[in-house]
């Protein structure tokens, strides 16, 4: 029993760490500028956590086998202040150190100023769709009013027809285009319940909360089509609240906006 259980814990440690090391299942590809720091921090923490995990499982397995009760009396050893102080101190340094280094990356992410040339996109989430809006040629989003929302007639976000600034706004549902290598600023809203805007490859996730406007910024580095998932339980079709993210060249993006505006 002792040997079996000892070996099992050693196996748990080894197999788990092995699957991580060989990246059998791994993070989706990275396509954003800020995401590199997140991935580095994630991997570094994973290495530290993995080491602690591995050593603890091995020690547990070894102790179980080594002290499997073979007639010799147990030791009355039950304290060692120096040892206790040492491991408390080491743990404290590792944990708080990790916390502080993680906070630096977090701060860099949310405190980064929004560049003047960032592409502004407004996102209004609803059960179970993503409504995007781009300011047209005037660069200004038109006024909206929740009282004017009328899904049946296609006014999903309550665009006010009386505001001239809204005349050239480009609206889309479940499809978001952005130019590559240019800062993007998304202003998140929700018109019903809480949703969460999640693009795994961008390393972006942010809840869209009704009553709040929350901004996120990122710069995509790769052209292609990606998926927008909802990460906050929002009702029965949560699992298929899917949007398409198209990352394209600036020229293609300009063309896309023009085509959409004409629609």
């Amino acid at each position: 029993m002792a040997l079996l259980l000892g070996l099992f814990f050693v196996a748990v440690g080894t197999v788990t760490v092995g699957i991580f090391l060989f990246k059998v299942w791994w993070l989706p590809e990275l396509i954003s500028v800020h995401g590199a720091a997140i991935d580095d921090q994630l991997v570094m923490t994973l290495i530290i956590a993995g080491t602690v995990f591995f050593l603890a499982q091995i020690a547990l397995g070894y102790f179980i086998w080594k002290f499997r009760g073979q007639g010799r009396a147990a030791s009355y050893w039950h304290e060692n202040p120096k040892l206790e102080f040492t491991w408390t101190f080491i743990t404290l340094v590792i944990f708080v150190g990790l916390g502080i280094s993680g906070n630096r990356i977090w701060a860099a992410y949310f405190q980064a100023p929004v560049p003047a040339d960032a592409v502004m996109v407004e996102l209004t989430a609803q059960q179970f769709a993503w409504n995007f809006r781009y300011p047209g040629a005037d660069g200004v989003l038109g006024r909206t009013n929740p009282a004017l929302i009328d899904d049946a007639n296609g006014n999903y976000i309550g665009l006010d027809p009386k505001d001239p600034a809204g005349k050239d706004d480009v609206t889309t549902q479940n499809i978001m285009a952005i130019p590559v290598n240019r800062p993007i600023r998304v202003m998140l809203r929700s018109k019903d319940v809480t949703h969460s805007f999640f693009v795994p490859q961008l390393r972006v996730k942010q809840d869209a909360v009704p009553g709040l406007g929350i901004g996120v910024s990122f710069t995509a580095t790769k052209i292609g089509e990606f998926e927008i998932a909802c990460a906050e339980l929002c009702g029965m079709q949560h699992y298929k609240m899917r949007g398409r993210l198209l990352v394209m060249t600036q020229a293609d993006f300009d063309q896309w906006l023009k085509t959409r505006a004409a629609m």
């Binding site: 603890a56 030791s75 944990f95 993680g102 319940v193 996730k205």
Partner: protein, 588 residues
């Protein structure tokens, strides 16, 4: 006669109802709580089987199940809303009616008074009331499960405004969600009464010689847990009342202005969805420790008993329990890094969360050091405690990732979180319950559980839970959001389907194997080996009295405590354990 003793003597009831149903005896109430937890865990496991069926084979038709749940299988396969209803009820029933009732109210009720040398809880009538209030809460929760329109689908966290807007939010969000809130509010009241009783008993009713620093770590864990429960449940109760008012009273505590749901304009204004999250997690995070702290106490106690060694660094263990309890009050924001809460606040919560890892690590080190140079006896109780240590480490280390908002941007609300909390507060806590059950069963029922079947149960459970929950880390790392009824809508998730299949099969085997435990439990009541007073050669007070203990625990004798709780293998002593009630000379 000693006045102190007389104050706590009361007559044993003779009628069936007062003895077994509306009993005021802490031991009967403890067993009632354990029975409630066993019923609840069975329901919870069945719900998880249904969930895993859908996740492994999303579009498969199940004619037999469709016969039982015609609405849930309308059109053939399980509907997504039925999946969410199962998910919501599984989480709620497991967290509240299993992980809170069994380790704290079940074992705590039975053994806390005996371990500190009391004849009963401080307030026996209130104790009886707390159980029956909890029982009513469970009945109401079952009503939610079978409510018209379906069970609620908002998850066990019931985030607003989805949970506040009523039937318009989706199937199950009408009567089902209302009953859910009512049940939770009733549950809070019951737990509050239990907490008051535990605290008063520990502070006022300890036997002569039972100083606080002579209490077993199990009692320390229940004591600390009671403090957490006392301060956490009222907050959820308040939140629950506000949510109920939003649902049935037309108020707007959690509903902001201008909501349009399914093209219907709501007239509410002024509420805040984040307020609910703060109230919920202010309760919810301490709740995680309410589930796990008793398991830590049981593990310390059992590791020491079956290594035949004193617990390593007893004082540090007490300090660590208290530190964990205290810090657990200032970490709730780590559930809300992506919620729209101020990012500066997130930084503070990140550091406090990292800090709670320190006392947790101290406990792990001390458990390992308790084994060091021990003489391990591999009883079922010991096996489950060793499993607890392994699981506690596995579930704990991933906290280092989730505690960092920057990393949480990616991992939040993915299966990585599901893996983390299931391992640490789900199965580690369950292992603590099993360890306690194998350890205390002989005291409660006078007979030992079958060790052979217990070992089979242990191996299925240990291998099983690792096979179920380890792969969920990989789902999360690949970006799989939690609470998805199926992953087939997203191309980037498609390659993960085999993992879901693997997890489901592991879950079916592991859950089926729990039948062994239930069989062992009931079989041993009649057929188990007679236990004697102290089958494990343990030291704490419950092992100094008959199994099962008499009505007032100690009979005419007032227990007097002369020793600390973990005097194993004391050099020069006559045997390798000194009971707490042994005369002072027992220690050379």
């Amino acid at each position: 006669m000693d006045v102190h003793v007389a104050a706590h003597q009361h007559e044993a009831p003779t009628g069936f109802v007062r003895k077994y149903i509306f009993s005021m005896d802490h031991k009967v109430i403890g067993i009632q709580y354990l029975m409630l937890a066993m019923v609840a865990v069975t329901v919870g496991m069945i719900l998880s089987v249904l969930m895993r069926l859908r996740l492994a084979w999303p579009l498969e038709k199940w004619p037999m199940l469709a016969h039982i749940f015609p609405e849930g299988f309308a059109g053939g396969p399980m509907t997504p809303e039925f999946y969410l209803a199962m998910l919501t009820m599984h989480g709620t029933i497991m967290v509240f009616f299993v992980l809170t009732t069994a380790p704290l109210s079940g074992f705590g009720n039975y053994f806390l008074p005996i371990q500190v040398g009391a004849r009963d809880m401080a307030f026996p009538f209130m104790n009886m009331m707390s159980f029956w209030v909890t029982f009513v809460a469970f009945v109401v929760m079952l009503m939610a499960l079978f409510a018209t329109g379906g069970a609620p689908i908002a998850g066990w966290t019931a985030y607003t405004p989805l949970s506040a807007v009523g039937a318009i939010g989706g199937p199950g969000m009408g009567a089902g969600q209302t009953l859910w809130v009512i049940s939770i509010a009733i549950f809070c009241a019951g737990s509050l009464l239990t907490a008051l009783n535990f605290l008063t008993t520990v502070l006022n009713l300890r036997a002569r010689g039972m100083s606080l620093m002579r209490m077993p770590l199990t009692s320390w864990a229940w004591f600390t847990t009671a403090i957490l429960a006392l301060l956490a449940f009222p907050v959820l109760l308040a939140g629950g009342v506000l949510l109920l008012l939003d649902r049935v009273g037309g108020s707007s505590f959690f509903i902001p202005a201008g909501l349009v749901i399914s093209d219907k304009h709501l007239t509410n204004s002024g509420g805040s969805p984040l307020l609910w999250q703060h109230l919920f997690w202010f309760f919810g995070h301490p709740e995680v420790y309410i589930a796990i702290l008793p398991g830590m106490g049981v593990t310390s106690h059992i590791l020491s008993t079956f290594s035949r060694k004193p617990v390593f660094a007893y004082k540090a263990m007490v300090g660590a329990i208290f530190a964990i309890g205290f810090i657990s009050y200032v970490v709730w924001g780590h559930h809300m890094f992506m919620s729209g809460m101020s990012p500066y606040t997130a930084m503070a919560f990140s550091i406090t969360t990292m800090a709670v890892g320190v006392p947790s690590a101290i406990k792990t080190f001390n458990w390992l050091a308790t084994l060091w140079k021990g003489q391990i006896r591999f009883t079922c109780a010991m096996l489950f405690s060793l499993g607890f240590v392994s699981l506690f480490v596995s579930g704990g280390v991933t906290g280092m990732l989730l505690a960092q908002p920057a990393v949480d941007i990616f991992l939040h609300d993915t299966y990585f979180v599901v893996a983390h909390f299931h391992i640490i507060m789900g199965v580690a806590a369950i292992f603590g319950i099993f360890a306690g059950m194998y350890y205390w069963y002989p005291k409660m029922f006078g007979r030992l559980m079958h060790e052979g079947w217990g070992k089979v149960h242990f191996w299925f459970s240990l291998v099983g839970v690792y096979c179920i929950f380890m792969p969920m880390h990989f789902l999360g790392l690949a970006g799989h959001p939690r609470r998805y009824a199926q992953l087939t809508e997203f191309k980037y998730l498609l390659h993960l389907q085999p993992l879901h299949l693997f997890i489901s099969i592991a879950a079916f085997i592991t859950i089926t194997a729990q039948v062994i435990f239930f069989f062992n439990f009931f079989w041993s009541l009649k057929k188990g080996k007679p236990a004697g007073d102290n089958p494990w050669e343990s030291t704490s007070l419950e092992w100094s009295i008959p199994s099962p203990p008499p009505f007032d625990n100690f009979g005419p004798i007032e227990p007097i405590v002369h020793h600390g709780p973990y005097e194993y293998s004391v050099p020069g002593a006559a045997k390798d354990y000194i009971m707490q009630t042994d005369p002072p000379e027992a220690r050379p």
